[in-house]
């Protein structure tokens, strides 16, 4: 086997892992982080090893994400900011801005040649994160795929609350006042996009822009971000693995 590197991105909601061989993603996996990030990361590692038929001894392991601290079997630990930039540059070579909307934080990173130029992060407040979307979907009685379906028609309504807790009760009263679930769902996604745009306004935003993280598959969110940024936003099926890919690349350098 050539040079094998594993990247594990242990986020608050999901733990992602990729196995990198000769500059390509040979295996990828994801599972819910659960209550024990370390155990989950171990399971992700084992799965990758089996999938790729690799030997434990020939691996270089790099951990990132908020759960990285506990992953003691990793050779190195790197912050998710650095890894997202490096991973995004692999997915979309020449990428200049990375927008990552994760489970409990969101970040906008300005990138050049895979290197972080500057970044802005929101991790103090639930509004504007994946957790907020999940909570709202739950409030409307749908799961994330149901939520995605509600966004298809592109309807929306105004949501004024800046705080996740107040938005939650606003959703209830909007529904009670006769707004459709499609409209409310659209309103929620727009408010997340607006928050992200406010974050992005603090750095130099340049195209191409790659959306990463678990929510990158949510087409409605991508569209809402494009409206807010007034710039095209690109996603890829590898987007959710951006952090893990970056970690694996870090292990090679």
């Amino acid at each position: 086997m050539g040079q094998v590197s594993i990247g594990i991105d242990c986020g608050s909601a999901a733990c992602k892992g990729v196995l990198f061989l000769d500059g390509a993603v040979k295996a990828a996996t994801v599972r819910p982080t659960g209550w024990n990030p370390k155990e989950t990361a171990k399971a992700v590692l084992d799965e990758l090893i089996v999938k790729a038929g690799a030997k434990r001894e020939e691996l270089s392991i790099t951990a990132t994400g908020y759960g990285r601290v506990g992953i003691d079997f990793a050779e190195r630990k790197v912050t998710e900011i650095t890894c997202h930039a490096l991973g995004a540059d692999f997915i979309l070579p020449g990428v200049r801005t990375v927008v990552d909307i994760g489970g409990q934080d969101s970040k906008v990173i300005s990138v050049k040649d895979g290197k972080v130029q500057s970044f802005q992060m929101n991790d103090k407040c639930a509004a504007g994160t994946g957790r907020f979307l999940e909570m709202s979907a739950h409030r409307m009685g749908v799961d994330m795929s149901g939520f995605a379906a509600l966004l298809k028609e592109g309807k929306s309504c105004a949501i004024s609350s800046m705080c996740a807790v107040f938005a939650d009760s606003e959703i209830v009263s909007l529904l009670a006042s006769g707004k459709s679930r499609e409209e409310v769902a659209g309103g929620i996604v727009n408010s997340v996009a607006a928050r992200t745009a406010a974050l992005a306004a603090r750095i130099e935003m340049e195209s191409p822009i790659l959306l990463t993280g678990g929510l990158s598959e949510l087409v409605g969110l991508k569209k809402a971000l494009e409206v807010q940024f007034q710039l095209p936003v690109i996603t890829s099926e590898l987007s959710r693995f951006a952090g893990a890919i970056g970690a694996a690349r870090k292990g090679l350098s």
């Binding site: 912050t79 650095t82 972080v116 103090k124």
Partner: protein, 385 residues
């Protein structure tokens, strides 16, 4: 000399624990009849108290222990330094506040000014009107007038007479202290620096809780000699590859050491502090010839702080330190709800951008709940340098 080197850890510990150990020393001083003045800000002209034979102590609280008590009277979205200092005062939990016969404050930021009014109800408080400008004749004259008023207040409250000779001697002593502490932090112009930022901060912060001037001077001198000797003997506590960081912003020390810790755990090294405990205070010498009160007034008024407008002197110092210390990145710590520094942060960011120096602003408070968030930010910053 060899002895010095082996003493070095002890010297560092002595500074690290100075605030704690100072409680007893202060009690002794009080018992022997020495008067104590508490201060909150670097603009407070310590020479006046020193001339009167009084002991000065910093009252800026650095832990969140009493914030819940303070929030009974104060709004919660207020700077933690103000809240916790007030909290320590009303709960009698800070021995230094308790021992202070006189508390001196300045009209710096609005939060502090209004807090002093409340503090005045339970302590003997004197407020100095600090101008917001540094270069107009009116500002200079007002500030000198304010120092005359302070001198008279001290003379009245402590039944002393302060002569020009006493002031001159105090200026000389404070200058010596400034010079030595500057010499100490300037050791970190070396690559790699001979001490971590954590150590440097402990000495700078601890020095203000050493109340015997002669001993303090000796200890700082020993620390400098010990660090030099260890370095010459080949000790390298910091790898040469560590990115060199300048820390600036709100006052730092106590619980906010966490900012230095996360930077250094990420592999960077803090080589200089442009904060109140650091270069802001030690950088310049006070003029010794001529009218002492005018010299003191001129010296203090020129301190660069975000409460001034325009705050030219802060930027002048920042620029000079960035060059002198070969800075790779600047980290600004702003305390939550500190408007002067949070707003000026934007100007600092642009200033650094123009000079191609990466800049990171970290907002924090007196809790330890945000360590994870701080270390991700500081980590990513150090990784990008």
């Amino acid at each position: 000399m060899v002895e010095l080197k082996t003493q070095l850890p002890r010297i560092f510990d002595s500074f690290a624990q100075a605030r704690q150990d100072g409680f007893l020393a202060m009690k002794k001083l009080k018992d022997s009849g020495t008067g104590v003045v508490g201060q909150f800000c670097t603009y407070t002209p310590q020479e006046i108290f020193m001339a009167a034979g009084l002991v000065t102590v910093g009252l800026c609280a650095t832990s969140d222990e009493t914030i819940p008590d303070a929030e009974k009277d104060l709004p919660s979205n207020l700077c933690p330094l103000i809240k916790s200092s007030y909290g320590f005062a009303i709960t009698d939990k800070c021995p230094y506040m308790y021992f202070s016969d006189l508390v001196v404050g300045e009209t710096t930021c609005d939060g502090k000014v209004k807090m002093y009014e409340l503090l005045g109800k339970i302590k003997n408080v004197h407020i100095l009107e600090l101008p917001k400008r540094q270069n107009t004749p009116q500002a200079k004259a007002l500030w000198r007038e304010e120092l005359v008023r302070l001198k008279e207040r001290v003379e009245k409250d402590f039944h002393v007479t302060i002569t020009d000779e006493m002031l001159q001697e105090a200026i000389r002593r404070r200058n010596m202290e400034r010079k030595l502490l500057k010499e100490l932090y300037e050791l970190s112009t070396l690559t790699p620096p001979p001490l971590t930022g954590m150590r440097q901060l402990q000495v700078l912060f601890g020095a203000q809780f050493k109340f015997n001037w002669e001993e303090k001077i000796k200890e700082i001198g020993n620390a400098i000699a010990g660090i030099r000797q260890a370095y010459d003997a080949g000790e390298r506590p910091v790898p040469a590859s560590a990115p060199r960081i300048l820390v600036t912003g709100c006052p730092i020390g106590g619980v906010t050491e966490k900012v230095v810790r996360v930077i250094e755990e990420a592999g960077g090294v803090v080589v200089v502090f442009e904060n109140c405990t650091g270069a802001k205070q030690m950088d310049r010498q006070c003029r010794e010839e001529g009218d002492p009160l005018t010299n003191i007034a001129d010296h203090y008024l020129q301190i660069g702080c975000a409460v001034m407008t325009p705050d030219t002197n802060r930027f002048e110092l920042l620029e000079r330190l960035c060059e002198q210390f070969h800075i790779d990145g600047v980290v600004e710590m702003t305390l939550q709800a500190c408007h002067p520094y949070a707003v000026e942060a934007h100007s600092v960011k642009l200033f650094m951008q123009e000079r191609n120096i990466p800049y990171l602003q970290l907002e924090t408070d007196y809790s330890t709940a945000d360590i994870g968030q701080l270390s991700t930010r500081a980590g990513a910053f150090v990784e990008m340098l």
